[in-house]
Amino acid sequence: MDKILQINYQNRTLQIEESAYQAFQTYESELKTFFLKEEEGAETFADLQNRMAEILEQKNALSTIVMKDIDELIATIGRPADFDENYTAETTQEKKAPVEEKRKLFRNKKDKVIAGVCSGIANYFAIDPIAVRLIFALFSICTIITLFEFPIGIVAYILFWIFLKPKQLEINVTQKLFRNPKDKVLGGVCSGLAHFFNTETWLVRLLFAAPFIIEVLTNHNNIFVHHNIISTSIYSFTFICYATLWFIVPLAKSPTDYMLLKREPINIATIQNSTAMSKVLQTSKSGLNAFLKVVAYIILATIVILAIPTLFGILTACFFSYNVLDIILFSTFNKVLGILSICCFIGLPVLGLIIWGIRKIGGYKSPHIGLRIAFSTAWILGFISIFILGFNLMKEMNTYANVVERMPVNMTSDTLFIQSFNPNLEINENVVFNWNPMNHLMERKEKTNEIHAVQLSYEQSEDSVFVVKIEKSAFANDKMNANQLATSLGYEIRLDGNQLKLASAVSVPNNIPYHFQHVKVTVFVPKNKTLVIAKNLKKELNTSIHIDNHNFNINVDDDDKDEIYFSNTSVISHNDRKMEQKDQIESATEVLQEVKKSNEEDIKEAEKNLAETKRKAELELKNAAEDLKRVLKDTIK
């Protein structure tokens, strides 16, 4: 008993005995070499393949195909030697002459989108109709948009439509643009184009994918918000191109199509491929299936596009904050676990995704199964190590402790200015170039690590003097150790007149791990006194010193203000203060003017009074003089 094979021929699944299959394959290739000698033979051969599939399927419906069935098939179709070659040869001669003569421009009735004009032109020049259609469409659109604002393409098309006679035209090209179902990522457009232009598939894919890749690399923060109109238009253009080609270019369906697509010299090797080809064709047959596949690809692509930058970001963050991680992990065991976690758990997926993308674009085969197992094992190892590390760190830092220190500020002024100074910068002043991208996180020194972990807040108080509370805290495995860690934390405060200077970093001794030790400074502001946060501190608020002021509404984001004022009755901003002053000035001016006005009135009245008095005095003087005269006259008399 012969071995029974399950084969796929022309989209049909057939059970066939091995020897019968071999005989059939030999016969098919015989036919192929015979028919493809001639120009028209490809179509005949495809028809015959179709017919043979039909016969075989009918036979298969009864039982497995055996040698006898193949013999019967050959008897029906005949061997090339039995074909009337004389007949064929002579007819070709007879028929060919008039066909050659009739090579005129027609509209193609057989292969048309609107009226077959493009297809006819393509037939005349013996080129692919799709190329003509694309050129024609592009030409029409371009002329409408740019040159004349006149639909010259459409008018030309209508004229061709009127003047050309319709005719059934046959494919007369050796190569056509098809979408390639055998080698595809989405619709097989790139692969088809690559075959058409005789280049590498990955090159075409890269060309199509490049705008998206560049977009992801340059704008990985928000992929879905486009700021750059040029990049947006470029990749929407590529997207439209791909979608258009997907829509208008037919999928290679029959082996004949496939040969036209591949422009392959037709030989036995290609024929043998055709059975494998049929298999692929069947898988891509169902429309729903294809749709689901596209949806799955889109989801997958989105995940990849989002995952790569995220993982990459984590990786870079880990790389740049290695010094902080170093002192957090501290013990060698933890460090090994940390490296394993980063490399295997985060690094490997990044690498894997990149390789997967390249493979998908380049159409390379899947990696060896051993490599896959190694990859998966390493990733699981990373997962385990990240789990152990997390557990370890949690155990090491499960208890919290803090040390509180209160310090009254002795000064005479009603206003306290708060500034900050960076202990790291002061010491490193002589260093010309100090490359440390994570400078705002920490700084390493000989015996200590300076870490920017300072918090600042204010509270109202009933005291009569300013009080600064310094709260050092740390995490450890028990209360005692946590306390010890907190106590060992170095933090510097300087008081210079009414200027309180806070260090922007705490120093942790080198020989102990960093268990999120941090300092919280609280300034208690007495009644009717003011706290001013200096400009330099405000700059650092968002980076080094964290401001915790939920008790008071101080808007630190307002860049207009150089300083932030706080007094224990209300919060006054610089601007508010100006306003107040302005108000005061205004009211003062008002008062002044009022005073001035009333003064003027007084003066006027006084003047008036004076004038009257003067007049009265003059009158009296006159009367007196008159009286005197009369007395004198009387006396003389």
Binding site: Q10, N11, R12, L31, F35, E40, G41, E43, T44, D47, L48, N50, R51, A53, E54, E57, Q58, A61, T76, I77, G78, R79, P80, D82, F83, D84, N86, Y87, T88, E90, T91, T92, K95, P98, V99, K167, Q168, E170
Partner: protein
């Protein structure tokens, strides 16, 4: 030499008639190649499908035939052939030639 000649003449005779017969079957209505082959065979005209198919392709390419794909319940879609207008004219001219020839041959061979 003689044998080859006989073969050649026989095939020459068959060839012209075969084309006419095929066109005659198709002009009656849409036809599937293997049905044509069966009909020819039943009428005593042996023809291989391997000969029939290229012939149909040529006739179609010459514009005499048209075809359409028809879904089949038993197998792959089938190519059904019909006659075009020019094909009909071609057939009619062939028919008249055949009738003239047949009657002439009949008359001649009767004696």
């Amino acid at each position: 030499m003689t044998a080859i000649n006989t073969d050649n003449i026989q095939s020459q005779m068959k060839k012209g008639v075969l084309e006419f017969c095929i066109l005659s079957i198709i002009q009656r209505g849409e036809a599937y190649p293997s049905d044509i082959a069966v009909e020819l065979k039943d009428s005593g005209m042996q023809v291989l499908e391997g000969t029939l198919y290229p012939l149909l392709t040529r006739l179609k390419n010459a514009g005499y035939l048209e075809y359409r794909w028809v879904e089949s319940t038993t197998g792959p879609p089938r190519k059904y052939f019909t006659m075009s207008k020019t094909g009909k004219q071609f057939y009619l001219s062939l028919e008249s030639t055949w009738k003239e020839m047949a009657s002439a041959v009949h008359k001649i061979t009767k004696h």
